[in-house]
Symmetry: C2
Subunit: 355 residues, 2 copies
């Protein structure tokens, strides 16, 4: 990315672009059409909605967290009626609840959900939700922004019609590039979707991508970065990338449990671990001490979880030693802040899980 | 930009963000509200439309080129009626034509135009258009994506309500970050604008910017880059940046004229020079030879101008020696391709103009 900026109408760009589009499919994996957009994750969520739905359509939003709730905000903005299937933060929505709503209302056009809910560390069981949706006409639209690379999001096997991800999560790149896949069913829906759209209109992208260009200027530096990230994934193998995320998130969970703490999520994601803190420990102070004493950046609790939860990510190209380092730093800082536990047990549990 | 990625919820981000937002105002210059968006130029054009207008509104699009025509496409996508005030590519729309349409139709809600039309190298006289619009209720919305840094776009002095630019033009950064200013009149229009919007909704940006954050993940790497670009501008002085663009574009024009060629645009911009080629010279071949023999990248003709026009940009942080280099390379390549002229006259004319 630090090399000279590739001219997006220059002779080398089409090969770069078509190569990353093909290779990005291996991340999910998917054989579907794949689009690269210049936006944040929220932008590609809007792209998924406006390309497949119409004002007045009814959809199910299955969510229990900050980023799932964004689906509702986007649908509301476009006059799409939301049947909310929600739960307490930290829970995951069961597929049977979605199946029930679909059976009760045949007019539902789509089910929108989040694979890994970053605000709570919870994972939705997309294969189960996909089975629930498969008996109905509704499209399944999945925000995989923070889950792709941590979990498979196999669009054909799971029955996912639209899958999303972003550059700044599992791919370890700066933010600004987003990815959307579209099944044949979703592409057919796009033909009839009445939501107004220009910037995110995939028909513009489809027309120009066949010429190796974007319809507008693409973030060329991030596309060069994506090439490098995809090469790293190819080298490691996507199955091993998933294994690594499972191993590292598992190690963080074992470490947490070994010192008497709990994960906030009922069904924890392998992208990050949200840790419920004991009453005596303020999460904001914990984050500050980790940053000041160890240079370690972890996430705080969002909204009403501020101070009550901290979130430890292992998304991207994290090493096992990075995990050992953060567990060690957490142990030392919790002890310093007066939390009582068997010193050394967290790092021992993490070490054992990392193998 | 090559440093560690700044965490967009980390402690250092708010100061960085509020600093670049304030300093970016000096580029236009403007005292208006300013927003940074994660999108290409087309995205921020859509943001300007959806935040200030409603379906069924009537607007004037004043354009004579590829990027001006994009205003019409965006308005069409949102059900906004366009009164087209257009002209042949290479011309600029006179302010009196816009004044005439505004007088004839009091329902016009906005005038949308382009300061520097990159497809033709033409400049619109924004001060004159601003005067024409000032007698009416309509908002003036100006695409300054490729003109900011090359020309002033003084929002208060010219009467511009919404001004746009992007990271990849005058600021010399990679693409992916866009800038929009909003006058008080435009902000009031936004309160009543009925176009559906979520990602580009400035009320979301306004709410989070006061906390030093974006409503979604901002392209933090580009924001660090913007900090560096704004420091360069501050160092040189924005008036000198405008002078430099005027001097360098002037030198390219003098060089072109000295060898019997013409600028394609009637009123050439200081951001780039579109050169009309003689029948005997194919523009595509000229570009290829410049690239292969000199490593020099210039733009080709878009749409029906392919092969008939080449476009030489001096936008960004270009040195006078860069201009001498491209003029010399152009002379040698035109001579090699059989175009007859007084050898050495182009570089002499450029040298004289550069002073």
């Amino acid at each position: 990315m630090a090399g000279p900026i590739v001219y997006h109408r220059g002779p080398d760009f089409p090969e770069l672009l078509t190569g990353v589009v093909e290779d990005a499919k291996k991340l999910f994996p998917t054989q579907d059409e794949l689009f690269l957009l210049s936006s944040s994750g929220s932008g590609v969520m809007e792209a998924a909605v406006v390309n497949t739905l119409s004002p007045g359509d009814r959809v199910i939003v299955a969510q229990a967290g900050n980023f799932g709730a964004r689906w509702t905000d986007i649908c509301n903005a476009y006059g799409i009626e939301v049947v909310s299937v929600d739960g307490e933060w930290g829970t995951s929505i069961g597929a049977e609840r979605i199946a029930g709503e679909l059976t009760a209302d045949a007019s539902i056009k789509a089910v929108l959900t989040t694979q890994s809910e970053t605000s709570t560390g919870a994972m939705h069981d997309i294969p189960a939700i996909g089975q629930a949706v498969a008996d109905h006409e509704a499209l399944l639209i999945v925000d995989g922004i923070s889950s792709v690379c941590a979990h498979p999001l196999d669009t054909a096997a799971y029955g996912v019609d639209v899958a999303l991800t972003g550059s700044q999560k599992g791919l370890g790149l700066p933010p600004g590039l987003a990815v959307m896949t579209l099944s044949q069913r979703a592409a057919a829906a796009a033909e009839n979707a009445k939501c107004p759209r220009f910037y995110f209109d995939i028909s513009r992208y489809r027309a120009s991508l066949s010429e190796g260009r974007g319809p507008s200027t693409l973030p060329v530096t991030l596309i060069s970065g994506l090439r490098a990230a995809l090469d790293l994934v190819e080298n490691e193998g996507i199955a091993e990338v998933w294994n690594r995320h499972a191993r590292q998130a598992g190690a963080v969970r074992e470490a947490i449990w070994s010192i008497g703490l709990e994960c906030f999520a009922d069904s924890p994601s392998n992208a990050l671990t949200a840790v419920s803190l004991p009453e005596s420990i303020d999460g904001v102070e914990l984050m500050q001490r980790l940053s000041q004493s160890y240079g370690a950046v972890i996430g705080g609790g969002l909204a009403h979880l501020r101070g009550r939860v901290v979130r430890i990510s292992n998304l991207g190209f994290v090493t096992d030693d990075d995990i050992r380092f953060i567990v060690q730093a957490l142990e030392e800082t919790l002890a310093w802040m007066g939390y009582r536990f068997d010193r050394g047990s967290a790092i021992a549990a993490a070490d054992k899980a990392l193998g």
